[in-house]
């Protein structure tokens, strides 16, 4: 009896060994590089949540052609850590696909390490123009490039705010305030160049030190310039200091447009309370009008927002929605068409993508440059159809207001009530 039992067990074990690989294929392993500790950690962790939701959703749908998605985490605290973590995942874990990495300096580092090792990098939210202008072959930036942030702000002023303020664009007094480090300066430069093409003169254009502890001189200068519209590029700490000082010194503008970073952080409301209401933000859209989305994308979007809100008790910020959108496109548009999963094959697939706007959850489409873009022939791997727009802080939360087709709401509070009436 015991002999038969043993034989049966032996036979059964043989069966499971041979049947194993057939029943459950090897997972597709992807290296996710995000800042999980350090000063960027907050946004990095939100992105990580969005990425995990995407992985769970695709795996529940049976994975990619039957293969599950598996993530390997790398903690890209700063550019140096980003490089060593990327190399660790590539050399020790044998990763062939990387993604991430939330902030431009990290994106520059991760893509550099990936390219050096011939690994395919799918960048979700990095913005600096340089990311796709180094002649790299395997780096694809799904999010919008830096110049688009500023352009969105200016387009919004010209096409929407001018009408609401009942002034011809030429008479509109526009001021530009930027923090004078990499991000603020590059966005500021972009805006300056762009308003020139629109024949608009700035009444005020000045950089300031992000670590300034006193905003009095800046606010006083702006009071003298008395702009109708103020466009500001700030980080959280200086954005808060500026808004408080503007209130203290009673600086009133008809419209305030912040660009990304400091003004788009969901914590701004926790910090300065109802003072946020009415502020416009040029950034990734946190949520777009569902009517622009393709029907199947709309279903995915609904599920994503529901899951994210259930998990974090608040709607996703624009960068988290962008992270989800990009990785979902990788799962559904790139990987299913791959056979070898080699970087060169993935590159070919990515370059062939031609998705109209509204294909991704945040309203983006996909069409990558490949050394063939008229504006810059050195550019390769930049998505020309990434959506960027303007949303507004409202009493209830935030609403997309521009461009019109992505808008969920009309812009309100234009002109903005004076401080003493708020």
């Amino acid at each position: 009896m015991s002999f038969f039992l043993r034989l049966a067990i032996f036979a059964l074990s043989l069966f499971t060994i041979t049947a194993g690989p057939v029943a459950a294929q090897e997972p597709i392993r992807i290296g996710v590089l995000l800042p999980l500790t350090g000063p960027f950690a907050k946004n990095g962790l939100e992105n990580w949540e969005a990425m995990q939701i995407a992985r769970d959703m695709i795996n529940e749908r049976g994975g990619v052609n039957g293969r599950k998605i598996e993530y390997l985490q790398g903690d890209a605290t700063n550019p140096n850590a980003a490089i060593s973590e990327t190399e660790r995942l590539i050399t020790r874990e044998g990763i062939k696909i990387t993604t991430g990495s939330f902030a431009s300096p990290l994106a520059i580092a991760v893509s550099q390490a990936a390219e050096r090792n011939g690994v395919f990098h799918w960048e979700t939210t990095g913005a600096a123009e340089i990311i796709t202008r180094r002649g790299f072959k395997h780096t694809f930036q799904v999010g919008a490039p830096a110049r688009k942030y500023g352009q969105a702000a200016v387009d919004f002023v010209v096409e929407d705010l001018a009408k609401r303020l009942k002034k011809p664009v030429a008479d509109l007094k526009i001021a530009l305030l930027w923090e004078n480090r990499a991000f603020g300066k590059s966005v500021g430069d972009g805006i300056r160049a762009y308003v020139e093409t629109k024949k608009i003169k700035l009444v005020y254009d000045e950089g300031y030190d992000q670590f300034a502890t006193d905003m009095t001189p800046i606010v006083q200068k702006l009071k003298d310039a008395a702009p109708d519209v103020l466009i500001a590029i700030s980080f959280p700490n200086d954005a808060i200091l500026f808004q408080r000082k503007a209130k203290e010194l009673n600086l009133n503008v008809a419209a305030f447009v912040g660009v990304s970073a400091g003004y788009s952080s969901p914590d701004l409301r926790t910090s300065i309370g109802d003072m946020v209401n009415g502020i416009f933000v040029a950034d990734f859209p946190p949520k777009v009008n569902p009517n622009v989305l393709k029907p199947e994308t709309r279903k995915v979007a609904d599920e994503f927002y529901k899951r994210y809100e259930a998990k974090l008790q608040r709607p996703p910020a624009g960068h988290a929605a962008a992270g989800f959108s990009a990785i979902w496109a990788l799962f559904t548009e790139v990987l299913p068409k791959a056979k070898t999963f080699q970087p060169d094959e993935l590159r070919e697939i990515a370059l062939k993508l031609d998705l109209p706007e509204g294909s991704l959850v945040n309203g983006s489409g996909i069409k990558f440059t490949n050394f063939d873009w008229a504006d810059d022939t050195k550019d390769a791997g930049q998505n020309l159809r990434a959506s960027i727009g303007v949303w507004q802080w409202t009493k209830q939360g935030n609403e997309q207001v521009f461009p019109p087709k992505l808008a969920t709401h009309e812009a309100i509070d234009v002109p903005m009530p004076d401080w003493n009436k708020r």
Binding site: G38, P39, P217, I240, L249, N420
Partner: protein, 294 residues
């Protein structure tokens, strides 16, 4: 003219807040002749403490003073006993590295415990105080008053009380003071803890004005060092004057020249003072070696 008056007075007000935050540093330097490089992190810790009190008890941060000042006194005493005192009779660099290490340690602990998020409290007073065409935040005016009271009170303690006499004796000649029965190690301990308590006071005054985050100390510690040296190392009324100078220079240069230069102009002022008055504005001759004014 309105703009000038606004900038001048705003500069004086914010400068007095800088001074308040620097008095603890100058006091410790004046008596112990050590520079506490973790001064900014003491401020950060105290601001988190005050923030915690407003969150848990729903009080405005000024009430936090009652708990934060004694708590920071105790914290200062512990740091002195564990880190500063053992390094006092060693070469000067030991204290520098010890406090610098403490600074990095505290920043990272804060990052782990509190994350990088900015923490704020709602404004205490809803509206600005309006005087003619000028606007002032009531919190700043209050801070100015507290700084003045604090400077006068500290001067009184040092000039008129027995403790003050003992502190002055210690500064003048530690060994002689010890021979006269003054417990010098205790004086050091009380001074360091007192300096730390003053940072606690400054933190409660600053919380309604500034966000708190793990590296907030770095934004202020450089200003504090400049103020201490500018005023005359160890001089309390010098710190007040130095703080106001920094505030005014920052405010006027930002307006009339450019805000992009940030701290450059008060460093120019700093260099000028160092060239023409090497002991600071109100410091005595050889202040760096002697310490507090006699």
């Amino acid at each position: 003219m309105t703009a000038f008056s606004q900038l001048l007075i705003s500069g004086i007000l914010i400068g007095s807040i800088y001074a308040l935050m620097s008095i603890g540093l100058t006091l410790v330097f004046g008596v112990l002749r050590v520079v506490n490089f973790a001064h900014g992190e003491f401020l950060m810790l105290a601001m988190y403490g005050a923030w915690g009190i407003t969150q848990v008890l729903g009080l405005n941060p000024y009430w936090g003073l009652i708990a934060i000042v004694p708590a920071m006194f105790l914290f200062g005493a512990i740091v002195h006993r564990l880190i500063v005192q053992p390094a006092l009779d060693k070469p000067h660099l030991v204290v520098v590295f010890a406090t610098m290490g403490l600074s990095i340690f505290m920043q990272n602990v804060a990052l782990m415990a509190m994350s990088a998020d900015l923490r704020d409290v709602p404004p205490v007073f809803a509206q600005s105080v309006i005087i003619g065409p000028l606007y002032f935040k009531a919190e700043l005016l209050l801070g100015f008053v507290v700084t003045l009271v604090c400077t006068v009170a500290l001067q009184w303690i040092i000039r008129k009380t027995y403790l003050g006499k003992a502190i002055r004796a210690t500064v003048q000649d530690g060994e002689a003071a010890m021979l006269m029965g003054i417990p010098v190690p205790h004086i050091f301990l009380i001074t360091f803890a007192g300096g730390s308590a003053l940072v606690g006071l400054a933190a409660c005054i600053m919380l309604p004005l500034f966000s708190v985050f793990p590296t907030v100390g770095l934004n202020f510690v450089l200003i504090a060092f400049v103020i201490v040296v500018l005023g005359g190392m160890g001089s309390i009324e010098g710190a007040l004057l130095g703080g106001i100078c920094v505030g005014v220079v920052q405010s006027l240069s930002g307006y009339y020249i450019a805000p992009a230069f940030g701290q450059m102009f008060f460093f120019i002022l700093f260099l000028l003072v160092m060239i023409f008055r090497p002991n600071g504005l109100l410091g005595q001759k050889g202040a760096a070696n002697i310490g507090m004014n006699s």
